[in-house]
Amino acid sequence: MSFLDLKNVTKIYPNGTKAVHETSLSIDEGEFMVFVGPSGCGKSTLLRMVAGLEDITEGDINLDGKLMNEVDPSERDVAMVFQNYALYPHMNVYNNLAYGLKNRGIDKETIEQKVNDAAKLLQISDYLQRKPSMLSGGQRQRVAMGRAIVRNPKIFLFDEPLSNLDAKLRIQMRLEIKKLQQKVGVTSIFVTHDQVEAMTLADRLAVINNGIIEQLGTPIEIYDNPKSLFVAGFIGSPQMNFLDGNLKNKTLSAEGFEIKDINSDFEGEVTLGIRPEHLSQSENGLISLRVELVEQLGSDNLVYGQLKNKKDFCYRCPGNQTIEKGSNLSLNIDNNKYYIFDKSTGKRVN
């Protein structure tokens, strides 16, 4: 049995909404797991069930070999960082950090030492006497993490903790969280709707949609090998291009071009997925793109345009290429880097 075990966990709210659907998942000790999915997909509910803040309708949650279903959140030895930090507004930073330790009956000197250690680690030693209202967003974020760290819990739970920060700080804190987790080595679950955050932080990633884990794996596995249309569309930025097509006798006919010798016996209506970065310009390419807009990011150019059938399409090329608005590009798909999905079920077929 692994460190955290979720077995057929289901959550049905009193009004009948099914938020989480028979989810099973194992997380190893020290692992950084990220739940990613659109808002309302049940990822936060799943996290809150691990914390004990939501009752479990069906199924079991085991943490470190102990069944947690009926255990009170205060007894679970988990720490959580909330989206709005939930710092205690009437206590200074020191007491914010010390509160959980005081409740556990730890003596004063030990508390002081633990708080000071955590403060040093997070570089908030100078603010210990300040109230949360006197701190900036990034500092509050650090205090919230400090509150989790001092208790040395079995598991860290992060509920979209970076979404209140501005873009620059978010990237900085993202790095710090990752570094910190590696340093402290605590098992962590991080919930986010931001796929870049998910990709960069995760040891393993669970892509969740409609209360079901669509795919579980390392970020690269999921990027390289999405198992469903949803995962393919959700992971990767800019989003994967999707084209309608038909698969018959191992030949895919999409609008305007054909791909032969496809490694699949599926026949019928399909959706072809091509990532913008898996294309390159070549003469007599499969795809002809009329350029409408070019976003120059410096390192890359994002080229947006339409295909012959007026379908929107995106192509990513190195930043040193000059591409004129209104020009026509001829693009080829890099070797076999395309994904074919059953149009009716969304499942990958190649």
Binding site: A51, P73, A86, G100, N103
Partner: protein
């Protein structure tokens, strides 16, 4: 220039308002420092006289009532006990009631709250006889307990605390739970410190409410030992200057409470900013 005129005009109106409120009080105070023969001959006075100590000391120490058992000093003591008791008890009960209504999973908590709230429509005067008979059965007539308890459940304070608790974010409770706080600790460590300013405001409010009670103390005390200041205003006999002096003194405690606690009140408000 026009701005100067309009602002002077509005200040003038405000000044008139203040004068209308302050002048009668000042006249009573000024008159209470004269001798009674002076007032009887010349009417109310606008300027201070020289009998201040004489009049006020006599009022404080004069043995009043039918049985000459009570002094004004004792009445102040009684009123103080009663007002403080009402203030503390009603704030404590309201805090706890609001906590239960908001944070406990009570069925029909909203309905229960509105039932509590409806009691505002049933003032003490309306339920005074049943309340009296309950107190009489319990043998609490002529006691501080009997003076305080029947008016110490405040629907208004419960409303205020309930509305405040509803604005406290759920994450705070959840975070505290994960930090090992039980229901009692969350109440003591979080809700009470967070509602400090509101507690002070309610203490002022309920103190004045308790202090101003007239009908209830009149009914529930037969012994002069338990007379309160507001009752005493009517019961105290004496000459007109002594009554004036007593009226002026009766206004001092509520004003003092407001002055003393308002400091904390304002400090609390600004600290959170």
């Amino acid at each position: 220039m026009t701005r100067f005129i309009t602002s002077s005009f509005s200040h003038l109106i405000l000044l008139i308002g203040i004068l209308i409120m302050v002048v009668p009080v000042w006249m009573i105070f000024a008159s209470s420092t004269h001798t009674s023969s002076m007032i009887n001959m010349n009417g109310l006075q606008m300027f201070l006289g020289d009998s201040f100590y004489e009049n006020y000391l006599r009022v404080l120490l004069y043995q009043g009532g039918f049985f000459k058992e009570i002094t004004a000093l004792k009445m102040f003591f009684n009123s103080f006990i009663m007002a403080t008791g009402v203030a503390i008890l009603s704030v404590v009960t309201s805090l706890m009631a609001a906590y239960a209504l908001v944070y406990y999973r009570i069925k029909h908590a909203t309905l229960l709250f509105w039932i509590i709230f409806i009691t505002i429509l049933v003032p003490l005067e309306l339920r005074i006889f049943p309340t009296y008979s309950v107190m009489a059965e319990l043998n609490l007539v002529n006691s501080y307990f009997g003076l305080i308890v029947p008016i110490s459940a405040s629907a208004i304070a419960t409303l205020f605390f309930r509305q405040f608790y509803k604005t406290v974010p759920d994450e705070l409770l959840e975070s505290a739970k994960l930090d090992g706080a039980n229901t009692w600790r969350f109440f003591v460590d979080f809700l009470i410190p967070l509602s400090k300013t509101m507690i002070v405001a309610m203490l002022i409010f309920m103190f004045v409410f308790g202090y101003n009670q007239y009908l209830w103390p009149l009914l529930v005390t037969t012994s002069e030992q338990y007379w309160t200041v507001v009752m005493g205003l009517k019961m105290m006999s004496g000459s007109i200057v002594h009554r004036f002096a007593f009226v002026i003194m009766s206004m001092v405690p509520p004003i003092l409470i407001i002055i003393v606690l308002q400091k904390h009140f304002i400090k609390g408000v600004f600290q959170d900013k």
